[in-house]
């Protein structure tokens, strides 16, 4: 087999652009879904049982849909009810909607893992409401679930590859484009595979660093 390194180096900008778009899409949607997921914490940890159960059911349902199917629904089915999105908005919407369900579940798990004494102590010092959430609870929740969020980010990066099917020019699209144009499927997909591997390895490195912080918080809870 003739490994076409020359084509690869010529088309390097394509791959770079694809990688950049993947990073941008995943980073942005992760941040957005983290915010939305934090908002979901309110009904998920509510003292009213019916609200809590409804919210939990919605989160569970949201985690049952295959990503590609959701992308199809956002891109092909929504126009039938009058919502027409361009592929970038559709991509971002799908990623955010999909990931929010997972973020909500992850944050909820983190919330539950914080001992009740932390809330009680904060209350004893005069904390309440939004201030209590912002200064005492959320920092501890985020630190505790940092590694889990990192793993979810890796999942998100991989799911984003499906978006090439609706012609979003991310990394897999670039690889597919190059391979179909130059007839070099092995080289092309190998390169994109390696680039995904690099991306995920970087996230995993960050996860390992954040795991140290997480264990610090866990140890102090005794």
């Amino acid at each position: 087999m003739n490994f076409r390194l020359d084509v690869l180096s010529q088309e390097a900008p394509q791959f770079a652009a694809g990688l950049g778009n993947t990073v941008w899409l995943c980073g942005t949607s992760m941040v957005l879904s983290l915010g939305l997921g934090a908002l979901c914490l309110v009904p998920l940890t509510s003292r009213r049982r019916t609200l809590r159960r409804l919210a939990q059911a919605m989160v569970d349902a949201g985690r049952c849909i295959p990503f590609l199917l959701l992308a199809y629904i956002v891109y092909f089915a929504l126009p039938a009810v009058g919502i027409v999105l361009d592929k970038w908005t559709a991509a971002l919407t799908t990623l955010v909607f999909y990931n929010t369900a997972y973020m909500a579940e992850i944050l909820r798990g983190g919330w539950v893992s914080i001992p009740a004494e932390q809330i009680e102590t904060a209350r004893a010092f005069g904390y309440r409401g939004f201030l209590l959430l912002r200064r005492i609870m959320l920092p501890q929740v985020l630190i505790a679930v940092g590694p889990v969020i990192g793993n979810q980010l890796i999942q998100l990066i991989k799911d984003s590859a499906f978006l090439f099917i609706i012609t979003v020019p991310e990394l897999t699209f670039a690889a597919n484009y190059v391979q179909s144009y130059y007839f070099i499927p092995f080289e092309s997909f190998l390169v994109s595979t390696l680039l995904y591997w690099l991306l995920c390895a970087s996230v995993e490195w960050l996860v390992r660093r954040s795991e140290r912080w997480a264990s610090l918080v866990r140890r102090s809870h005794g």
Partner: protein, 214 residues
């Protein structure tokens, strides 16, 4: 709404998805165990290779991996038909994740029990199968089932190499009837039922195991 013919058509797609995933899951679990054994074994080369495999496959999107196997491997002389390629790719993928689950279970396992087994004259292999494995497979059941649900959710990837699974079927029906909503909605429901059934069966199994061992 969806015509009965379209529904039956959709269900054949569901059948394809379930069949392929079932085979991949069945093959992936023992393969994952083998790789985990390699990663925790004594041979450093084996440890490195298995670790590399697991880390690599877990980092790659399933779509890209499937295309690498179906479109890319023929360049190296290995050609597949779409269906076997799909099963192969899914199986390799889930094996990598399973190896991580098994590896964690093995690492968590108390060394004291193994020592006791050796002290009583068991060979390492005997100790593994009679002492370690019965305990770790029960403990690993929840993450293993979770991985199964993840595989089913990622399985639409096989559509890109021409396998008509549930998601692709739904799209075909949507495009031929110009009515995307019923087709996609039905697909969501079917996936939901399959995943729910899987999780419910797993919980049942967990409960029955707990009463016996506890």
């Amino acid at each position: 709404m969806l015509s009965p013919a379209a529904l039956v058509d959709l269900l054949t797609g569901a059948g394809t998805t379930i069949a392929i995933c079932a085979v991949a899951i069945a093959a992936g679990m023992p393969l994952g165990l083998l790789i985990a054994a390699g990663r925790t074994g004594k041979n450093p080369i084996l440890r490195f290779l298995c670790g590399l495999y697991a880390s690599f496959v877990r980092a790659v999107p399933l779509v890209t991996f499937v295309m690498l196997i179906y479109f890319g491997l023929p360049a190296l002389g290995v050609a597949f038909d779409p269906l076997p390629a799909a099963v192969f790719a899914l199986g390799l993928n889930t094996a990598a994740f399973n190896s991580e689950i098994w590896r964690a279970g093995i690492a968590d396992f108390s060394r004291g029990q193994l020592e006791a087994a050796r002290a009583f004259g068991m060979t390492p292999r005997m100790a593994f199968w009679r002492v370690m494995f019965p305990q770790i497979w029960r403990k690993s059941l929840p993450p293993l089932v979770n991985e199964m649900t993840l595989l089913i959710k990622a399985s639409p990837a096989i559509a890109v190499i021409g396998v008509v699974d549930l998601t692709r079927k739904a799209r075909q029906i949507a495009e031929s009837t110009y009515e995307p909503l019923p087709a996609f909605f039905a697909a969501v429901v079917i996936y939901g039922i399959v995943l729910l059934a899987l999780v419910a069966a797993a919980r049942l199994l967990e409960r029955r195991l707990a009463t016996r061992v506890a």
